[in-house]
């Protein structure tokens, strides 16, 4: 039996297109970017703890890059996000300027 709990308000706002990044590292790095940019963040919510461990590791590896992106309001220059980059940039304007 699979048992999964999904949910809970209030959700942090992320660009919808973030969910369409298939590459594991890029998927987690972009989620990390929007999570770090939110000063009221209280939880990071995901299905498996291994995803969380990966996210923290990637965050450490790219820490300086992520901070620069948040400061400059830009999207990291990483692979596998070309199909959603423009939409993520729109999300940056809406999120980082709050």
């Amino acid at each position: 039996m699979i048992h999964a709990v999904i949910c809970v308000v209030p959700y942090h706002t992320v660009p919808w297109a973030t969910g369409l990044i298939s590459h594991h590292r890029s998927f987690l790095l972009i989620h990390a970017l929007f999570a770090l940019a939110n000063p009221t963040l209280e939880r990071i919510y995901m299905t498996f703890v291994t995803f969380f461990m990966d996210m923290i590791r990637y965050m450490q590896e790219e820490w300086d890059v992520l901070l620069s992106n948040i400061r400059d309001g830009t999207i990291p220059d990483i692979d596998h996000i070309g199909h959603v980059r423009d939409y993520l940039q729109v999300g940056v304007y809406e999120t980082f300027n709050q």
Binding site: I21, L28, F34, N38, I44
Partner: protein, 230 residues
């Protein structure tokens, strides 16, 4: 910047609390658990019994003949019949049925009501950790009685900040279900379970993804939801 809400006490350095795990549920909770489990099982059996699979699988022949004249929704002896007469099966019993979805063209006349009423909401792909071949699971959200709101799950009334949800909405493939007229009546995504479930709950059909690309994703679900399957 602090992530700790001001009204929430900051834990002091104290010795860890002593925890005494229960080795069994109290009788009252045990009764509730049994009643809830039985109700879910009866609902699921009542819904699935009319499927192509349940109508013709040899594994269910004895069960079918025994419950033929019974009220599937009300007669509780259906549950004991199920437990006594339905053998344990593994994925191999379902693989030939699942294959019907993945042999194009996927015709509506052949796959409607195949494993449960209607058509699947999505196909969940397993991580292939057992056995060499990946497994596909047809998830019929809404037609089997196996989805419900959980009142006591992770909602926190003390939550004052925001949550970063980290969920994929990607899919690996799409199964087009085709009517006799040749029209595609449903596009069913093949994805990891959480992606398919979230899409189903939000009504995010794959064919309308382009209308959401530039939007912000906020408050996907307004209640805690628990899904149970397989």
């Amino acid at each position: 910047m602090s992530c700790i809400p001001s009204h929430r006490p900051i834990p002091l350095m104290t010795s860890p609390p002593i925890v005494h795990p229960l080795t069994s549920l109290p009788p009252q909770l045990l009764a509730v658990l049994k009643q809830t489990t039985d109700q879910h099982l009866q609902d699921a059996i009542g819904a699935i019994i009319t499927s192509q699979y349940a109508s013709s699988s040899p594994d269910l022949a004895d069960f079918r003949s025994t419950v033929r004249d019974k009220d599937m929704k009300e007669d509780s002896t259906v549950l004991s019949d199920f437990r006594n007469l339905v053998p344990l099966t593994d994925y191999e019993a379902y693989r030939p049925w699942m294959a019907k979805f993945f042999e194009p063209p996927c015709k509506l006349s052949e796959v409607e009501n195949l494993l449960a009423p209607g058509l699947p909401s999505y196909f969940a792909v397993s991580s292939s950790t057992s056995g060499s071949k990946p497994k596909h699971f047809a998830r019929y959200i809404g037609s089997t009685g196996l989805i419900r709101a959980a009142e006591d799950s992770v909602r926190s009334s003390t939550l004052t900040g925001t949550i970063a949800p980290v969920f994929s909405l990607s899919y690996r493939d799409i199964v087009d279900v085709i009517a006799a007229s040749g029209e595609v009546v449903k596009k069913i995504p093949v994805s990891i379970a959480s992606s398919g479930f979230l899409r189903k709950c939000e009504g995010w059909n794959v064919e309308t993804d382009n209308t959401r690309m530039a939007s912000m994703s906020e408050c996907p679900l307004d209640q805690d939801t628990t899904i149970e399957g397989h």
